[in-house]
Point group: C2
Chain length 319, copies 2
Amino acid sequence: MATIKDLAKLAGVSVTTVSRVLNDHPYVSKEKRKLVLEAIEQTKYEKNVNAVHLKTGRTQLVGVVLPFSDHPYFAQLLKGIAKQAFKHNYKLVLIQTDYQEKREKEALHMLRQKQIDALIICSRSCDLDLITSYTLYGPIVVCEKVHGDKLSSAYIDHYQAFQSALAYLYETGHQKIGYSVSRLDGTSSKERAAAYRDFLAAKELPCRLDYVFDKMLYFEDGETMVTQLKQMEDPPSALIITNDQVAAGVMTCAGRVGINIPEKLAIIGFDDHPMAQMMGISSMHIPLEEMGEHLFKQALGKESKDKVFHATLIKRETV
Amino acid sequence: MATIKDLAKLAGVSVTTVSRVLNDHPYVSKEKRKLVLEAIEQTKYEKNVNAVHLKTGRTQLVGVVLPFSDHPYFAQLLKGIAKQAFKHNYKLVLIQTDYQEKREKEALHMLRQKQIDALIICSRSCDLDLITSYTLYGPIVVCEKVHGDKLSSAYIDHYQAFQSALAYLYETGHQKIGYSVSRLDGTSSKERAAAYRDFLAAKELPCRLDYVFDKMLYFEDGETMVTQLKQMEDPPSALIITNDQVAAGVMTCAGRVGINIPEKLAIIGFDDHPMAQMMGISSMHIPLEEMGEHLFKQALGKESKDKVFHATLIKRETV
DNA sequence: TTGAAAGCGCTAACAT
DNA sequence: ATGTTAGCGCTTTCAA
């Protein structure tokens, strides 16, 4: 495999000149440039990027931390990230964590080791302080509201989103409202819980802890939820559901056990996935792809440190 | 940021000794090791992996080429790949191509530039010969049957899978069988087409080109398919569908327009996704995750060059 | 406009 | 068991 040294020798110029040609620098005469180009052609020369990485200290690689890549929510986010990465000629290193702290730490470690230029954390298990401490080694972007100016962030205002879903259900006559989340200790779940609590308090409704369903993430979880619902003596009349996949699952199973939607049970999903549109499921639209694009631009320092996205209610036939 | 030189100075040893400690090599006395370890601690030293990459010529990075990361089929495959990557302490560079040749070439280029140690191509648009020519620069694994010994491959025997689905439908009394694919010019679609043709010929059934549906990939495509079906004068009585997502979409929409499943239309999906299980959709089970794991091991040269996986029919309630 | 030379931070052959 | 040293292939400063 040829190196610039070989090219230099072959073209009868210095390595500096070769490097200049390679990097489109000025101050190279037409003749020498041509000579170098010919040498490149002849030897089928290809740059060893690792040398460049060592020299420049950058790799054109951005790490993306996410718990699962097989969920439409993260897949959509990833799509936006990938779009901008491609645009800026960066590649993405995928770090699937399954919410294992160990794996998140590996990602942070890669930043520290300079294997990646920046890190995007779509969802985390690690402590925020730990993550923040790694900003010393490169830009880190997270998907939640943060304090301080070390981390960049782009996130959904889940509190507000949840409030508007609640308000809508309340307006349409529901008083027994429940909801589901993917993991109770997640950041967005906490916001949802706060919105729920505050809303119930404002309307002087009782807070029903049995109306909160945990571990609902995939389509098939909808079945579990319907089963649980069926066993309740006093089930909710409306549900705000983790995402459209679970909502679709609920929708699919509910009919079988005689739970008619929306008569007996109103549901609102999240994300406004094409699936929700097709099935006529009311949903909170979230600009996931746009958010993903923003995340990447932030990782490159090309955007403001802080960006909130708002969800909007899409009314369909399930409320 | 400290370097091994700094450590050497601080610990009063040579860089070699430091390097040995860093890489767990033998021949370092307990005392010196301790000294080095202390220096590491003190300086919060971290290896610059780019230097290692340059020196060793390897990056512990494997590229994964796939058209979309937001489809369950590829997400599942990716899961298996990621599992093994983690096990072997490799990271994955994700290259989403949208089936654009330009992007696939970028991936090949990364291999050539030594930015990745190996490349896994889950689905391609590029010419196989072009891909093969890059094996010069590192191992490449693809998901289809190949000739020659340059490329490794792990793949589903789609011909056989399709034949058994057809046989099953035929046995249950269907003569008007149609099918759908995601893209007609894809490798697996060609195998399916061959199986279809051969089967019809064997049973002396007419080959109905209007029974072949293209561009069916996502859940929401099921709606399109049902619409098309509804407009046909002489629609098929059974369908072998691209994958379980589309099958679920068909299932969801069919009822609305009076197409009862399986009475009026029998369907068989592919992949045996949890969704199919939940909805009672008959499906061809494919060991996707296992295949993903295999792909990665092949990329590392730890497995045979060639591996066929077989699909198995899971009978549920849609036939 | 060109080139010599000094690294980037690490590994490993070789010498001791 | 330990150290010296020569690179890995490139970029970039500095001098010409």
